[in-house]
Amino acid sequence: MSNYESKYYDQVDETVHKKVMDNGLEVYIIDKKGYNKKFVTYTTKYGSTDNHFKTKGKVYNVPDGIAHFLEHKMFDKESGDVFNKFSEHGASANAFTSVDRTSYLFSTTENFKKNLTLLMNMVEIPYFTSEKVDKEIGIINEEIKMYQDNPGYRLYHETLNAMYENSPVAIDIAGTLESISEITAEHLYLCHETFYAPDNMVMILAGDFDVNDTFEFIETHQNKRPAVDQSDIERFLPEEPYGVKEQSKELNLQVTTPKVMLGFKVLPDDADDQLKARRDAAMLFALDMVFGEQSPYYEDLLERGIVDDSFNFSYQEDDLVRHTLMAVETAEVDTFTEEIVRIIEEVKEEDFFSETRLRSQKRELLGDYLTSLNSPEYVANQFTKYLFDGVDLYGLPELIESITLEEVINFFNSSIDVKNFSKVVVKGHD
């Protein structure tokens, strides 16, 4: 018998099994009884913002876009494209890179172990040559151009750029044509060795599994890997000033209706993981009460033709950023901006939030959350995200329930500063 911990979450009727391998790799199995599909993610805490770091006593600055480039190259082995191997074994594989992580994943209804071995070997054993690196630049360059042709993506990216002076979050995940042209096979080996160490990675399996057998299978594989030192990574984060870099910015793209995004910046503080998670939930409630479709403010803006159903908003915070974004497609860019600022100021001064609305918001969020748990993809990806943020995905119902009206009010008041925002507009060509 393999030793592992199991935990049953009564409120959501889910069971999670955990085992930490001898080399430090954490593995979680999430039961999805009756599902045909088995879904696996293998994730490293390494994303587009990890460009400046120290390991084994040496400091490195690597080209922008390298985490994403590495992700592409991991599929390309001496024996050919691993995508095709997954397909031969009946699985479909994919990967993605975000600001703080790179995930490799597959789903399958057959040959589970063959595919799992394929995934582990693909991620664990690097193979890079300068010819293969050169060839990849062409494909990634087309990918960069595809994003450049997406006005929504451009708007988001330009807003981050306008808000942040030094934070690497403003760098495009795929980098630029110039930066990726600097990438060499040596860079890729360095980043792989540093960030793909077992103790910097997590594997999540969601589906209908024989738990003991699966853990033993992974353990046998992991024990055969060559031993490596404990990972030793120090990331350098640049100092970020409080004020936004640019208050206003406009760019011309081929669009019919102007799109505007407002980015309200406040800096990350020393809040611990729990507090951050509470603040995140409270801000979700607050923003939805103020700007959601049920809100009288939204109704008014909608009737006056200042917003339409493209209006959306979000609060985001992590080690690098803390901000609230609001975006809409509107011909009334200036009125929209003035109204948003006016509404935030009014809400801060008046007694806007209510217990009744908060209770209803909590129920709604709980329902959304339960609905999402139907999806093994959601479960595996979000479990990983929350784990990296120091939070348990299945602890969310309790956390949601415990948010108080006072927290909603306080966090809303302290997390949006109407004097510190960037306004970015995408307009059609004149």
Binding site: Y35, K37, Q254, G292, D308, D309, S360, G367
Partner: protein, 423 residues
């Protein structure tokens, strides 16, 4: 894993798909009618109006509040093209009773609400003019902003070039010109017709017992069953290839190719499905491995098919200077299939993967509903005993694929290009 039971109550088929693996229950009501430009646009607007307010919850805020109280039940509507038809679907997804602490009769409340959603348009009067105007404005905005997605825009233009005089050129969500002219009366008429004459079906998936039939039978009543066969458009052989290019200030050309398949055998639609996976519908396909990975010509490239009608589309983002090279490369890959330049083992792999993704779609309540709905439609389109999907798939041979590839004819090449026409 799940079992399916169909009953016809009040002349409307109700299908129950019982499964315990989900945390939610989904109810979908389908309305099916032949596709026309005005019909699609009117029904698209109607579908949006229906889920914004009801006679019991007369504002969007009140309706949303009610849904939130019911654990954020998701009420949605959508419209799609299918075969030669236009489908309007209203769905609601809500959490299982076992996760609810309060004393709420979920199924009872949700069915009452759904009935209200379906019947409210009968009561539209002058007071609804404002709602109508607002939804019309919002839909016009949406249709306009869809054009800012250049890949979508290129695909729309491919359709209107390829299907110049055919109904298939109409989009499921309608067009701005038709929308501008619509009146509230048009919407009421479309609704009346839909409730009286459309082929209507109700499907439910989740952990529900037989009481669900009683509850759902309350939704609507008909004096006789309204139904008609489900079929595609007649097959048309393209005469000569149509070329069209439009210029916009964009970084990357969106190159789209439209093909017609001259179906002649009953298993051709399934063979087209298999062909598509070999050709450009999967990451191990010819287009992906050769044009993307080997030639580095495109990052996004795939083929998609409308199997009912026998249409295939190849869609890609390529460098502005490489459009011709790209088109030739696609035709060369097609020729490879015609020449039988692929292994039997690859065909078997593709078939296994198709079976696997079908199994995977059963892991979603909406996937189960959609498979059951397809089965319902199949029963309508033929009186003969139909073969199981899996059985037909397994019967496809390499020769079938080669013979089908020979029946695929290029019809239209549409390119949305960066830069100026004169350059």
């Amino acid at each position: 894993m799940h079992n399916v039971e169909k009953r016809i109550i009040n002349n409307i088929p109700i299908v129950k798909i019982y499964t315990e693996k989900f945390k939610t229950v989904v109810v979908s009501v389908y309305f099916r009618t032949p596709l026309t430009a005005k019909g699609a646009t009117t029904r698209s607007l109607l579908s949006r109006m229906m889920v914004k307010r009801t006679s019991t919850y007369p504002t969007n805020a009140k309706l949303l509040e009610y849904l939130a109280e019911h654990y954020g039940a998701h009420l949605t509507s959508n419209v799609v093209k299918k075969g030669s038809d236009h489908l309007l679907k209203v769905s609601i997804e809500f959490v299982n009773d076992k996760f609810i602490l309060e004393d709420i009769d979920m199924l009872g409340d949700i069915t009452k609400l759904l009935k209200d959603v379906l019947h409210t348009p009968f009561l539209y009067d002058e007071e609804d003019q404002l709602n109508f105007d607002r939804e019309k404005r919002l839909l016009i905005n949406r249709l306009k902003s869809m054009k800012d997605n250049y890949a979508q825009r290129a695909f729309e233009e491919l359709l209107s070039t390829m299907f110049e005089d055919e109904a298939y050129r109409h989009l499921s969500f309608g067009d701005i010109d038709t929308l501008e002219k619509l009146t509230l009366e048009d919407v009421k008429c479309a609704h009346q017709q839909m409730m009286d004459q459309d082929d209507m079906s109700i499907l439910v998936a989740g952990k529900v017992d037989d009481k669900v039939f009683d509850a759902l039978s309350e939704l609507h009543e008909r004096s006789e069953q309204a139904t008609y066969p489900y079929k595609g458009y007649p097959i048309i052989e393209p005469k000569e290839v149509k070329y069209k290019t439009t210029h916009l200030q964009i970084e990357q050309a969106k190159a789209n190719l439209g093909f017609r398949v001259l179906y002649s055998e009953s298993k051709d639609p399934m063979t087209l499905n298999v062909f598509n996976q070999i050709f450009g519908g999967s990451s191990s396909s010819f287009l992906f491995t050769n044009i993307r990975e080997k030639m580095s010509l495109a990052y996004s490239i795939h083929s998609q098919v409308d199997v009912k009608n026998g249409y295939m589309f190849v869609l890609a983002g390529v460098d502005n200077n490489n459009v011709e090279v790209f088109k030739d490369a696609v035709l060369r890959e097609l020729k490879r299939v015609v020449d039988g330049d692929f292994e039997e083992s690859f065909l078997e792999e593709i078939k296994r993967n198709m079976l696997s993704s079908r199994m995977e779609s059963m892991d979603k309540p909406r996937g189960l509903i959609s498979l059951s709905y397809n089965r319902l439609l199949k029963e309508l389109s033929t009186t003969k005993e139909t073969k199981e999907w899996t059985e037909v798939l397994q019967s496809i041979t390499k020769d079938d694929v080669i013979n089908l590839a020979k029946k695929i004819k290029l019809d239209t090449v549409f390119t949305l290009k960066g830069g100026n026409e004169n350059v």
